[in-house]
Symmetry: D2
Subunit: 335 residues, 4 copies
């Protein structure tokens, strides 16, 4: 049994990780941590886990974690994460980190959007945990940077086009709608039910932190610099991200060949389905699947993808990465 610790066990991605790991079979959750003021029995923090997991959420030191676990799912926010991750790695744990701290390879870009990076050493060997594009690198990693939810959906929507050099790389527009769980567990005016219900709104206009992450992945796939205008919106539902990606063809292609290109690109992928009709977030909710659909509109490509932000966009992808790290069936607990 692989022993798993969840670091920062009181948020939505931690809850979803537990939900998946309870069905895993090859792992055992042995340690849950949080800040002292957030501790308590997991059943009181997540009543949905009552009777399914009998563990306290504790404020414990690194030694205790290292003695109890082989791998840590680190669900801390950015900045906090890079304070803990080096210590966990030193203690011999493998780490799958949910924060942004190890995703951006270019420190200058990270520091522009976040703050000073305090762990460049481990950043250097962290692997980006999007298995569909970087599977081989993940398999041997000690530290996996679990991707952001928006970059996961957006880049899977256009990877076949980028890889084959079929779109201009300087004017890609990603327009996404996410469910509210993407905003985390902390109550706020915007996400107070009577304010968010029956509402839809754009946010982070001109400046979303996920854009450089998208550009990094897209550039790696395209083999040259890619520029992305990313505009997120939030809508009145719990789970899911629908991304609509507008891009300019460098060569025209009929619809059926476009579909075939995608089917060929994703042929062996267990979690990507190429549809022949538009996707819907409800069809991927509570699953690790990404549904993609490329289409042509007014001479452009419009490529759609749908994922569950908490599963393929976070906890499910983390377990997919964990399975890869340990040489297990990549789909374990995820189908």
């Amino acid at each position: 049994m692989i022993r798993v610790a969840i670091i920062g066990a009181t948020g939505y991605t931690a809850a979803e990780s537990l939900n998946i790991l309870l069905r895993h079979g090859a792992t055992e959750v042995t340690c849950l941590t949080a800040l002292p003021e957030e501790c308590g029995h997991i059943r009181d923090i997540f009543p949905a886990l009552a009777g399914r997991l009998d563990l306290p959420v504790e404020s414990v030191d690194l030694e205790t974690i290292a003695s109890r676990a082989d791998v840590a799912l680190c669900c801390l926010p950015h900045k906090v994460s890079m304070q803990f991750v080096p210590k966990m790695l030193s203690a011999g744990l493998k780490v799958i980190d949910f924060s942004a701290d190890y995703r951006l390879k270019d420190i200058a870009v990270y520091e522009k959007h976040y703050q000073k990076h305090t762990d460049p050493e481990n950043l250097a060997h962290a692997e980006f945990g999007l298995p569909e594009l970087f599977r081989r690198q993940i398999q041997g990693a000690r530290l996996v940077a679990n991707p952001g939810c928006f970059p996961t959906g957006a880049t899977l929507a256009i990877a076949p086009l980028l890889k084959n050099g079929m779109i201009r790389t300087e004017d890609i527009i990603v327009s996404s709608v996410t469910g509210v769980s993407g905003g985390g567990k902390n109550p706020s005016h915007t996400f107070h039910f009577p304010n968010m219900n029956e509402n839809v709104l754009p946010y982070a206009v001109g400046s979303h932190r996920h854009a450089p992450e998208m550009e990094q992945i897209a550039s790696a796939v395209a083999g040259k610099p890619v520029t992305i205008l990313f505009q997120p919106h939030v809508g009145p539902f719990d789970r899911g991200i629908l991304s609509s990606v507008y891009c300019t063809p460098t060569t025209q292609l009929p619809q059926n060949q476009l579909i075939e290109l995608y089917q060929s690109f994703y042929r062996s992928e267990p979690f990507v389905r190429v549809l022949t009709t538009p996707p819907a977030v409800k069809h991927v909710a509570h699953t690790n699947y990404c549904h993609v659909y490329p289409a042509i509109s007014k001479g452009r490509f419009v490529c759609f993808s749908a994922i569950d932000n908490l599963v393929k966009g976070a906890a499910g992808q983390a377990v997919q990465n964990l399975n890869l790290l340990y040489g297990l069936d990549e789909t374990l607990a995820l189908i």
Copy 2:
């Protein structure tokens, strides 16, 4: 023009009052107040009012309010309300108070469920602002206690039976479901969108503060003491209260006569509709109407009512009371 001040102008009931008063014709909103830290232009506090009302929300003294207004809609919470109301009355304003502070005639009952009552003097002459049952008293009032949302819906659902002595008064059960706006504007864990969406839950089990208010009204209508078990629930929608009232007949009555009894009782009421099929909260949303439907099930009466908690349950009823206070058409701005 009747000049209206809104005291505590940053909550949902204040916003709804403004929304209605903007269509009123015989009133002018002249003064909006709040705590210093909540002040600002009304357009920034309620973007839905942008361009419709050009007024600041200010932290002003009583003299200013009294110089600008003839009547105050007091949207403060209980306890705070009874600190301000006596001063407003002394300054010559009429007051329609939204809090619980002037609703319960029996101070002992009030103090059991809330705290020490600091204004028994004005409580003595406050009139209970449910026009369908106490219209005459309201007309001459200086201080109107605007009813709670649950008591409004629940008592209108059974008033015809109580008045005619047709049900036992010791075992009435009121089971209600309210929309989330009833919980107010302050963000909380329970009402955080991802927690409240796709959810329904009971609360205040065994102890809701609205029960004594229901019992007071029901007893007044019945002419003898009435006991009510009240159980509220909250569901994933913005507006509306559906009350299902279970009671025991003292005499059996066929369905058609039950309907006729209700139709007769509410014949002259502009805002109560007796339906011949079950009500739905959506049909009364954004209106001042109360839809009622009495039925028979397993030898008992099951009486339903639907209201919009922010309109007939608060702001609409307040304007209805304001219209009565000033001898205007009772339905002004409300149809």
Copy 3:
């Protein structure tokens, strides 16, 4: 591997059954049937299953089903079900039936609420599939009548009181709110999104077909006839039933002893959790759990339960029954 056929594979309960069985491990879904006009590949009927199950939904004869499967989950509507079930039993299949056709032991009661019963022979040996109350009988059954969603939640909420003779059996009131998936997959005016969203309404006033089923179970538990007034409501969410059961104590009991009584009664049950605070349907959504909470209000017992109508109220309970039929771990695929 136990080979499973789903009969009537195009509805919500069939989809949920498939979702669970895909994680089962000891079963294999081998046959999906529907009316000819509803056939097609399962991925087109339920896009959420795309890539997870490669099976057509077919209109096949009994011989084919019997040759491919050991047990059938029969998701047909009442009346249709009792036309197929006898043939499946004759062909040697075990059957777990989701319809009402084999739930009511008293044919007169069935025929009053539905229509003439055409299979009294198999009704005689059908076992009622509520494991928490009838586990032993289920284990040896050939035909299991999978319970209705409302009766499951409502009877689990009060079984400890009924068993111990602690409530009056003639005035129990069950007031429930269900999510819309309980109404099935067929589009209708009432469940058209713009009509049902932001709405809550009562239905089946005076006459819900689930009441006699509740009374049958409750009477079996109590050992004497029980009368139940059942009033369902539907609210704007997908999944879940919250039942609030109002009943009259025959003996008073303090809150802590009430909780202890429940904890003792359900001590060994894997899927019933006794809470010490009110339940919420969101905490049981997508799980086979039933959360119960008994309380005292105005001298009465008010007992709450929350289940997912599609899981514990249908597909999950069916798999729980399947596990029992085959001597498997009762919780397989359900935690």
Copy 4:
């Protein structure tokens, strides 16, 4: 009193028109029509109007309509509309038509997206009813083509840029999310509550009929041909359209000057508010307002607008047009 007939009075836009006209003051609704099989009292068709409007919905001939009304709000679907409109005009009625039949000035474009146009004569003099851009023409019209909901929101979002020649006219992308009421009252699989709730999806990929209407308006404002890629999405809420318009500047402009340009352009408009932060559909729900917000992102302009599809996108705009037709205060019943 201006006498108003509603033709096709059983849909959502008709209901919203009635809701607004009941508060109008200068009009009286005198005639409601529908197909024979949809007739009945308005209170049974729209329970929300119970007690507010005492009129039957009738299947009546043109003479009756013409004898009772001065102006018709024609809420029929396209194709049906152009069969009735010529007769109503001949009978002397003014007509505000909600369908697409009189919106597209180029018959070839109409016939490409719809079907053969059977009333080119009246199309020739129909005025496009978007008052913010074509107020003067509307004032003298006999027939007003009430705009589509998407074109209303999208073109108001970019009109100031088009008018001032500040964006390229060949690569405008309009990405919109609408509430479900935009899909009309007829139940369907897609809009069945359990399918649409917790969902968001794109539709009409590559081919939405509103695109040529947008292009027509935009070209009129720009004074040259404009090409628009329009992609609609539908989300789980009742009302509102959020449009995010991506376009390429021909000259760079700082954010504050962009805002000033919009403020200047819309200075005299009663129903357009230029915001300095992103809009939200909830802030315009149940109002005739359009909130716009232009911004800069990655060197492009991203312009947002929010409207209520049933009000500014249909019924409210129709009443605004009616007010213009009759020389009334344009905002009557709309603030």
